[in-house]
């Protein structure tokens, strides 16, 4: 990650102290919660499956965001951790009769262990080289699965039956139940991530990204932070993979590039949502799936339309949806400040977004690596 320049939105990755909660935020929170809970009752099972996909995609993207956005370690191999989660759950459900819900923690732990294994060599490489190594991991994964998993017809594909992933609460239909499981796990994982980033360890994660040398001289164990972030990030992808089996009713490694495609989807969700933000990955996942569904069915043109839409989004919102929102808030506040001086809140007050840099200050050199 390069240091942000002075004219960039200056707060990417900064977790300000919890702002005083204005009533607008509480109201928005209540409305969002009600919508999230009521939503599946207004849509068809097919549409609810798409909503669920958004949720597990967001969890994987959040995991990647912890690693790539906040910690600066680029991975385009998170599909492999996703796959580990998916096959762990599928094997436990299909071959050992587990409840899928019970396999989620196992998937998380196994993915985290693989994350540690990759995290250690990742200490020695950075940037593009790390991207390439993780890419290799995603491409390698399906062949490993092929060797050890033999589904019907010998292909590396496991399909839990409808009964094996059905609703555990009889009053709730399967599709809505599955949506709720994903929603619950999403809320839990996002809370954990938000808590982490608002702590001493969260600051250390960002410090390691911005200035590794300085972080170590103030006492941050850089290697430990990097490896643990890798493991945590992999666990998130593993959990998402596990949930994907619940939703798609399959773990499939018959297409050798499938987990590479997943890796790219996670990365897209992070970038268009807003890297190094808490809500970015969820918004990114929503937008990505929305674009995918809009462009679907136009056959050969679909990938081109998706690509074009992505270019447009990144062009209009270079810092993702959340970055764009912050920019807009800063811009609006500045305009209001110019229009009617007096009612503009002081920059350091309990504003929901951290204040921007003052345009009146003399241009200063960006803190640069030594």
């Amino acid at each position: 990650m390069t240091a942000p320049t002075a004219d960039a939105v200056p707060t990417i990755g900064s977790i300000a102290p919890r702002p005083a909660v204005p009533w607008v935020r509480i109201a928005v929170g209540i409305v969002v919660t009600i919508i999230a809970i009521r939503l599946p009752y207004y849509y068809s099972p097919e549409t609810n499956q798409i909503f669920s996909k958004v949720l597990y995609l967001a969890i994987a993207a959040m995991g990647l965001n912890l690693l790539t956005g906040f910690n600066g370690q680029v991975s385009i191999g998170h599909g492999a951790f996703f796959g580990v989660g998916a096959f762990t759950s599928a094997i436990l459900v299909v071959n050992h009769g587990w409840y899928l819900e019970a396999t989620i923690p196992v998937a998380a732990v196994l993915a985290a262990l693989l994350g540690v294994l990759v995290g250690f060599p990742a200490l020695r490489v950075k940037g593009l080289y790390l991207a390439l190594i993780t890419l290799g991991l995603a491409v390698l994964f399906p062949s490993v699965v092929k060797k050890y998993v033999h589904g019907p017809g010998g292909i590396p594909l496991l399909r839990p039956s409808r009964l094996e992933v059905q609703s555990l609460i009889s009053s709730i239909p399967d599709d809505i139940y599955q949506y709720y499981v994903c929603l619950g796990v999403l809320v839990l994982t996002f809370l954990l991530a938000a808590n982490l980033m608002r702590s001493r360890t969260g600051r250390a994660i960002i410090a390691v990204r911005d200035q590794e040398v300085a972080a170590s001289t103030v006492g941050v164990d850089v290697a430990r932070v990097k490896v643990l972030t890798f493991a945590l990030s992999a666990a998130y992808a593993g959990v998402a993979g596990s949930l994907s089996v619940l939703i798609e009713r399959s773990a499939d490694a018959s297409n050798p590039l499938i987990y590479f495609q997943d890796s790219i989807e996670f990365l897209i969700a992070v970038v268009i949502g807003g890297a190094a933000t808490i809500t970015g990955p969820l918004l990114g996942a929503m937008l990505l799936v929305a674009i995918q569904k809009r462009t679907e069915g136009t056959d050969a043109l679909a990938p081109a339309l998706l690509g074009g839409a992505l270019i447009a989004v990144v062009y209009v919102l270079p810092e993702g949806i959340v970055g764009g929102y912050r920019r807009a808030v800063v811009w609006a506040r500045r305009r209001r400040g110019m229009g009617s001086s007096g009612d503009d809140p002081p920059a350091s007050a309990s504003a929901p977004e951290p204040p921007s840099s003052d345009p009146d200050l003399p241009a200063a050199p960006t803190p640069s690596p030594t």
């Binding site: 240091a3 942000p4 320049t5 002075a6 200056p10 707060t11 990417i12 990755g13 900064s14 977790i15 300000a16 102290p17 954990l192 991530a193 808590n195 982490l196 608002r198 702590s199 001493r200 360890t201 969260g202 600051r203 250390a204 960002i206 410090a207 990204r209 911005d210 200035q211 040398v213 300085a214 972080a215 170590s216 001289t217 103030v218 006492g219 941050v220 164990d221 850089v222 643990l228 945590l232 190094a276 920059a347 350091s348 951290p354 204040p355 921007s356 840099s357 003052d358 200050l361 003399p362 200063a364 050199p365 960006t366 803190p367 640069s368 690596p369 030594t370």
Partner: protein, 243 residues
Amino acid sequence: MRFGGVVALDGLSFTVGEGNICALIGPNGAGKTTMFNVVSRLYEADNGRVTFDGQDLLALPPHKIARIGVARTFQNLALFPALTVLENVMVGAHTNGRVGFTKAMLQIGVRSEEKRLRAESRSILERLSLGHLADRPAVGLPFGTLKRLEFARALASSPRLLLLDEPANGLTHGEVDELGETIREIRDQFSLSILLVEHHMAMVMSISDEVVVMDFGRKIAEGTPDVVRNDPMVIEAYLGAPA
């Protein structure tokens, strides 16, 4: 300490007395920053010893150096641009906290620790007259302010020995005088020992208890500012050989 065929530090030996301000001076390339990087374990020394309060620093990994009470600043700034001024100082206080990954995620002991670290860091910022900038992002502030922020971040780890790499660099004359004053006061207030690399001679001579002069990686003189000022070797190193 060598870089390829160049011997950057050669038989250099000196001691910083407890509670003293010791200045390390010498022409560019004399090895002063290299010396800092050896002490903070960013460079691996080929041989030699660095001890602090009886402990062998060269046996410790870099992140343990802060924990035993040695902090430093960087000549060319090494701040965390995405964090606010306050958060930068709070990272400096990393060794004063204990919440790791698990506890942070489960919110165990986070609230009280955050409150304490924030209060400590804020008071250090106030002490260095940076309090009004606490919630600003570090990126975009003037160079002199960022130098002071580095100072604040180093202080936050509650060091007993502070290594300052050219703290007066980029400051105006008035600011330099003020900085000299601040360094002395902070030394007294926090009972620090300070090792200082500085080119600003007026400040060095006015605040230092001892001065070590280096050239080509060796020590060429050592003593109180008065002694060093009149040392013929020092005059030669700075002004060239007498005609």
